[in-house]
């Protein structure tokens, strides 16, 4: 069974081009022919006789826009399920302080309507992370937006370790009248656990080692560089603290939120930073958001950073990912880079750029057909393919 998309405008190699056809087979993109390439060839007859066409489906996409499925590299989809009460809130272990052993993957709820909303908004992949109440928050996972069980949707069960800096942890524990209630305290908790994990790993390699400690076991892949450190940081100084700690412990660091990133753009550029910026559409609800601006993305990109946009769902609804990109264009970012910020760049940041984020032969067939320009908020998704299956 194969599906062929014909005609229309395809976002290909960083820009919109006229499509002749795009072929989907066995969940992958197997062929892309641009209209320009076909025109050049003229009516050349193929050298070998082709086998008879396998039965399939052809969709005429004339005047439509064909894009890779969008990727949101920082969400909490279904951890705090929408439209329900405390009983399905699985967001933050707010009494746990350091919970590297908890996994977002174990709390996914595949029937959360946010998964459907995501597809409606053209989003086909998301990273899902525990909240930011704890200095060490737990393990993030990466899933596609379809599946009856989490195992159907999963790309990576454990892709990163969440750390939180700034207001959230100090508010969570300060209000409980506990340590930490300062930024110094938060950083100390994180250092303490990383230090323990390093020593634990060293000890584990010796013969005397007997009993495992689940929190430290969970930190081993981080220390070994197998998973990323995901640092929730808004304020410039918090971003720098995260970098300082990552350097000390040699961690593979991604900056999340990065609200004041534009104030330290030179530094971030020098560090070749990867940043997931947002949710810029939300309000300045706390002090560390006071410098929030849609200019951040462009400024950081100009410095050479890899920047993705996020809705931080449910902070902003997942469908608003393309709106965030459109807002960046309104603030001066060019259209191509705005689209990259919700396709190619998040794929790079998540380490999945060999299979997601672009329409290329061999890539996952996560393809979305829009009835108009995807950054025109009036446009609708007309067809959504995930792994080659038509889900809308």
């Amino acid at each position: 069974m194969k599906t062929v998309l014909e005609k229309g405008n395809i976002f290909y190699q960083g820009k919109f081009q006229e499509l002749d056809k795009l072929v989907i087979e066995k969940g992958k993109i197997t062929e892309i022919v641009l209209a320009s390439a076909k025109a050049k060839k003229g009516k050349a007859v193929p050298a070998t006789k082709k086998k008879p066409e396998v039965a399939g489906k052809t969709i005429d996409c004339t005047d439509k826009y064909i894009l890779p499925g969008f990727i949101d590299a920082h969400t909490h989809i279904s951890l705090e399920e929408e439209g329900v009460g405390w009983y399905d809130a699985d967001f933050n272990e707010s009494y746990g302080l350091a919970t590297p052993h908890v996994r977002a993957f174990d709390a996914l709820k595949m029937r959360d309507r946010a998964f459907k909303d995501a597809l409606t908004g053209g989003v086909t992949t998301a990273m899902i992370t525990p909240g930011s109440a704890n200095p060490v928050g737990g393990q993030c996972c990466i899933v596609k937006m379809v599946g009856n069980i989490a195992e159907d949707a999963v790309i990576k069960e454990s892709s990163g370790m969440k750390f939180a800096f700034g207001e959230n942890p100090k508010r969570t524990y300060g209000e409980q009248k506990k340590f930490p209630s300062t930024r110094m305290g938060t950083a100390a908790v994180i250092r303490e656990w990383l230090m323990k994990a390093q020593d634990y790993l060293k000890r584990k390699k010796t013969k005397e080692f007997k009993e495992r400690e689940i929190r430290l076991e969970a930190l081993i892949p981080l220390i070994e560089g197998k998973i990323q450190a995901r640092a929730h940081a808004h304020q410039a100084d918090d971003i720098i603290t995260a970098y300082r700690i990552a350097q000390e412990f040699n961690l593979d660091l991604v900056f999340d939120h990065c609200t004041e990133g534009h104030l330290i753009a030179k530094e971030l550029g020098k560090w070749k930073a990867r940043a997931v910026v947002g949710p810029t559409l939300s309000s300045r609800s706390k002090a560390e958001l006071k410098n929030k601006t849609f200019d951040t993305v462009g400024i950081l990109m100009d410095e050479g950073c890899v920047v993705a946009l996020t809705t931080d769902h449910p902070v902003m609804p997942i469908e608003s990912l393309s709106v965030a990109a459109a807002m960046c264009v309104r603030h001066g970012l060019d259209e191509e880079r705005a689209i990259k910020a919700i396709t190619e760049n998040p794929a790079i940041i998540l380490g999945l750029d060999k299979r997601l984020g672009k329409l290329e032969v061999g890539y996952d067939a996560d393809v979305v057909v829009w009835d108009g320009h995807p950054l025109d908020t009036r446009s609708k998704t007309e067809a959504v393919f995930v792994d080659g299956n038509k889900v809308i």
């Binding site: 951890l79 329900v84 009460g85 405390w86 009983y87 399905d88 809130a89 699985d90 967001f91 933050n92 272990e93 707010s94 009494y95 746990g96 919970t99 052993h101 908890v102 996994r103 977002a104 174990d106 709390a107 996914l108 709820k109 595949m110 029937r111 525990p130 737990g138 009856n148 069980i149 989490a150 195992e151 007997k210 009993e211 495992r212 689940i214 929190r215 076991e217």
Partner: protein, 387 residues
């Protein structure tokens, strides 16, 4: 003591056949057939009434929940985890519910602590006739009860536990199982003399794969979490409640994971019960999943076990499988199918005599036998004393 039931209908290859005789001797079923001639102490003429194996509820808190009392022995709400709790130490054999169970035709129950904590305690299998729990108990360690979803979350919320989300609950269970694996390995190695830890000791049969993890889970996601953990630690698994199990039919069938389903008669008073349906039993059974029905006493009165089976029939399940879901299959899920759940030579003398079809709710229980002990509940039952 020996008892013979003359002229009864019993189920044979899926159908009730009249004119049968069943002989119980020394607590066991000794003979089944249409022509048994034997001198017995008690002979009961049954006029084609229905004789079925004693009913089995594979998930209850019978005897731990104290009737008419606020002082329950059902859960250690303030503890973190309690794998070492033993029902034996809290069962009250003279609780009224025990008599209710017998009057409902129930001869065997699995008894476990309530599912308030991620790891709640040991599951035991109990007959309903004993004078003390020690006598009634047939298997003490029949599994470890674990709990996922709303109930442990509600407990964590009430008692301000450090773990209050699904992520945290699964992490607590993983942490404990990891410790138990290492504890057991250290104990095996014999190089280190270790002080025993009572909670770890209770988990050894689970880690060794001798008894299953009995996982209370309603939502599909919570069932998946239990499956994930069972596979990580190579544990046997039984799903308890399984309200959304019918959404995971293929997974459960493929992995051969049985479900103790219910209490379906309860209203949907919690969010995680939203998908509850009486069709679950037939959907799961058609896919090849072993399903036992439960009323989760005191979730529902213990007398409603037959009602659950009758309701499943109302939603399409056939007679044979509906009866099996409260006899044969719970016996299999509890791992005691070599001795209870069937009317068969050598099986325990656990029998229930009904005035009419056992799944017609109007039928009365007239007599019950548990391990050969005869209980008579109707004046219609005439016992002839033999020589």
């Amino acid at each position: 003591m020996s008892i013979i039931f003359n002229n009864v209908r019993i189920i044979m290859s899926g159908k009730f056949f009249p004119g049968q005789k069943v002989l119980v001797e020394k607590g066991k079923i000794n003979m089944v057939g249409s022509s048994i001639h034997k001198n017995v102490e008690k002979s009961i003429e049954c006029n084609q009434k229905y004789l079925v194996p004693g009913l089995i509820d594979a998930h209850s808190h019978l005897g731990l929940f104290e009737s008419c009392s606020p002082m329950n022995d059902i859960a250690e709400s303030w503890a973190e985890i309690t794998p070492h709790l033993r029902p034996l130490d809290g069962i009250k054999m003279r609780d009224r519910a025990m008599e209710d169970a017998r009057r409902a035709g129930i001869t065997t129950c699995m008894v476990c602590p309530a599912s308030e904590l991620p790891i709640a305690g040991i599951c035991s299998i109990l007959k309903t006739n004993g004078n003390s729990a020690d006598v009634g108990l047939i298997v003490e360690q029949a599994g470890v009860l674990m709990s996922f979803g709303e109930l442990p979350k509600a407990n964590a919320r009430m008692t301000e536990k450090p773990h209050s989300t699904r992520m945290g609950m699964t992490a607590v269970i993983r942490e404990t199982l990891m410790k138990a694996q290492d504890y057991y390995a250290a104990k095996q190695s014999k190089k280190v003399v270790k002080d025993r830890e009572i909670d770890m000791e209770a988990l050894i049969p689970l880690i060794r794969g001798e008894v299953p993890m009995r996982a209370c889970a309603h939502r599909a996601e919570d069932i998946m979490a239990a499956i994930r953990i069972a596979e990580e630690f190579k544990l046997k698994l039984v799903i308890e409640h399984g309200t959304e199990a019918h959404l995971l039919t293929s997974v459960l069938a493929e992995k051969k994971i049985p479900v103790v389903l219910g209490p379906t008669l309860l209203p949907r008073f919690r969010e995680e019960l939203n998908e509850k349906t009486f069709e679950s039993a037939i959907i799961l059974m058609d896919a090849g999943v072993d399903v036992a029905l439960t009323c989760d006493y005191p979730g529902l009165p213990i007398e409603t076990l037959r009602v659950a089976a009758a309701m499943a029939m109302q939603y399409g399940l056939d007679e044979r499988r509906a009866l099996a879901a409260i006899t044969e299959i719970p016996a299999k899920i509890l791992g005691v199918d070599e001795r209870i759940g069937k009317i068969k030579k050598g099986y325990d003398g656990d029998l229930a005599l009904f005035s009419g079809h056992p799944l017609d709710i109007r039928s009365k229980l007239e007599a019950l036998v548990v391990d050969g002990d005869l209980f008579i509940f109707s004046n219609d039952v005439k016992v002839e004393m033999g020589s």
